[in-house]
Amino acid sequence: MNRWTPGIAPERLSADELAANFSDLHPPLDDHEAFVAAGRCYFCHDAPCTAACPTEIDIPMFIREIFSGRPEAAARTIFARNVMGGMCARVCPTETLCEEACVREMAEGKPVEIGRLQRYATDRLMGRNAHPFTRAAPTGHKVAVVGSGPAGLACAHRLAMAGHDVVIFEAREKPGGLNEYGIAAYKTTEGFAQAEVGWLIGIGGIEIRTGTALGRDVTLDDLLDMFDAVFLGMGLAGVNALGIPGEDLAGVEPAVDFIARIRQAKNLTEVPVGRNVVVVGGGMTAIDAAVQAKLLGAEHATIVYRRGPERMGASEYERELAAARGVSIVTNARPVRILGQDRLEEVVFEYTIETPQGRLEGTGETFHLPADQLFKAIGQKLEGVPGGIEIENGKIRVDAAGRTSRERVWAGGDCVAPGEDLTVTATAQGRDAAESIHSFLTGEG
């Protein structure tokens, strides 16, 4: 173990330090804390928090159920709208959704802790692996779902609940999509994503085929032959490139790969990290990569974003969280060159200004950041879309019900426009597409 090892190295910190660093970001509320937190809810009329939730969870009602000593009933209220409520309680940027809308945020700057209360309730029910819903009588209809991320799982669950048989085709080895591979480890500890998948398919009628990729192992035409309907929830498999000299040097890689590596590591002491880490980007992925680099023991982790802080995709809360963990954030600078002999050594950045028209211009002034590792977090892109599906602004075009341009094919999650790259939005889209598919299959739509 040596914190000061040059280059990219594992075991910068002891196993104990790593365990502490990667423990739960927000520890669960205990009964007393939950009771006090729930007592703060005003039970607003037509509640703004619910309106701010992409899945429209009846938040005042579930909090009232917690307050009256019925956390499992609260969980049922949550799951009725959002079957991924357990994960959302952990990863939702509540500070820009329900908690931002909470009237007590306006009143006192201290919203009701909706996210943590949601976790309290959902943990309670999931803790005993109780599945709150029962499946309707089998309909004989079969639906294929491509991708087992939040959109695919939410869609599959709602279809299964209605009595349809669902097969999920998952390209990777484990189900869960970004819940399993894309979320910072300290936001979802102790294998929660897999536990959640196991709990969710407890409804019955869902088969998950992992290691089966659309385009490689199965085609959309195959699926349309075998199934009555198809839902595409494949996410964004590609990563945007920087397009600057030196991008192919060793040590430069997509941030999502680093994040996945940490999530999949059996032992965090085996995950190598640079002594000097640079992350290019301004969204949640950039934050998650930089923060986890620090937590693994990087001496310096710097996020560089090309526009001003107000344009960053990461919320102020997340940026403060990163700053508290020692991450530096540099704004209004863009990478212009990556330097190094055999591998990355430093990155040259140019300061930028944004014109009143929103165009980005370099100022000509540059600076160098030493770097052993550079993570690209400038967005992912859609790849592997089957033919016949219309694309709009780089994403699958869908209507309000999630229908694509192709008959019997629906889509949702990050692969559709407009996607917000949020678990909760993907969940809502998967759920709503399932309702549309159900109407189609039963002739009600």
């Binding site: 037509d46 509640a47 009237v103 007590r104």
Partner: protein, 434 residues
Amino acid sequence: MADLRCNFVGIKSPNPFWLASAPPTDKEYNVRRAFEAGWGGVVWKTLGEDPPIVNVNGPRYGAVHGPDRWLMGLNNIELISDRPLEVNLREIKAVKRDWPDRALVVSLMVPCEEQAWKRILPLVEETGADGIELNFGCPHGMSERGMGSAVGQVPEYVEMVARWCKQNTRMPVIVKLTPNITDIRHPARAAFRGGADAVSLINTINSITGVDLDSFAPEPTIDGKGTHGGYCGPAVKPIALNMVAEIARDEETRGKPISGIGGITTWRDAAEFMALGASSVQVCTAAMTYGFRIVEEMIAGLSDWMDEKGHATLDDIIGKAVPNVTDWQFLNLNHVTKAVIDQDLCIKCGRCYAACEDTSHQAIAMSEDRVFTVKDEECVACNLCVNVCPVEGCITMRTMVPGEVDPRTGAVVSGEYANWTTHPNNPGAGCGTG
């Protein structure tokens, strides 16, 4: 600096805050510490005849909580002092000797026989105590033995015992009244007819604080059974205020000394009791919840408020609100108000809207962007929106000035006072004139 000195039927104390007869005043240790903390006086927990009573050995208290376990109401099934009479008397004497400037009143409860009172009164007098308070209030345990509220519920007994005491002691006699009665004025009148110097009220209210839904037993529960206990604390304050006011404005008892009791938690509560006619106040639940130190805030708060308002002595505030307590029939029906929502203070919770739309007069409008406004043409000024709003001062009532047109009724607001007794809808209003 306001003068908080209190002279209650000749019993002097440096401030009007006394601890009520209850567990906090059960023994010397507590009372000394209370005086050290600044309490102006105590009413020593009720003495009875030997052999001492016994208490249950299970829970004596039950509670009603608000959010965050705020103790709104407390109930108890404790009886009077369970210590030997001689021990209590010895301690009372010692404390009074060391704290001559504080009020020390002794609460008493003995069987409803003159001899019993004749026996105990000289013993109390010998301690140097300042006065006695007759416990005609306890609603549990003792009442089943013909004491406590069993006496307080029968005005004739109240009068009789008060008279015995006055005839057998030189000490001032305060009669503590039970609220477990239909009309508090009757026992109050009886007490004064019997010669009592003052009344104190309220004692606790018969209550069951809850039911255990696993054992189906009332709480507090002793071995699977429960009984009604005496309820007190902030939840009972409105009941106590009304009863104090009823006595303060009754023709027969108007101006008679009252010691106000019932949920007093802050200086403001105390000031309210005094405004309704109490000339001293007694506190129990607040001390049992927070400890003796709360009296510091009570003293400072009352003093600051009196200074701010220019009230020099307690006499300047005692009874000040009594003339404004009236019967419903005399309320001015020409007084028209409308709710007004301060948009700068509004946090857009919509509780006013839900309350008005679902349960009242559909007089609040809600816009798409959650701006809540009062529909004057529907608003009857019921005040429910004010009461359910989480933000103090956000919704207020505006008084319409004479000459304005009330959009609800279309009538011009009159500056004239007019009440039910003369209202055309009152079948009795025309009697004697038509």
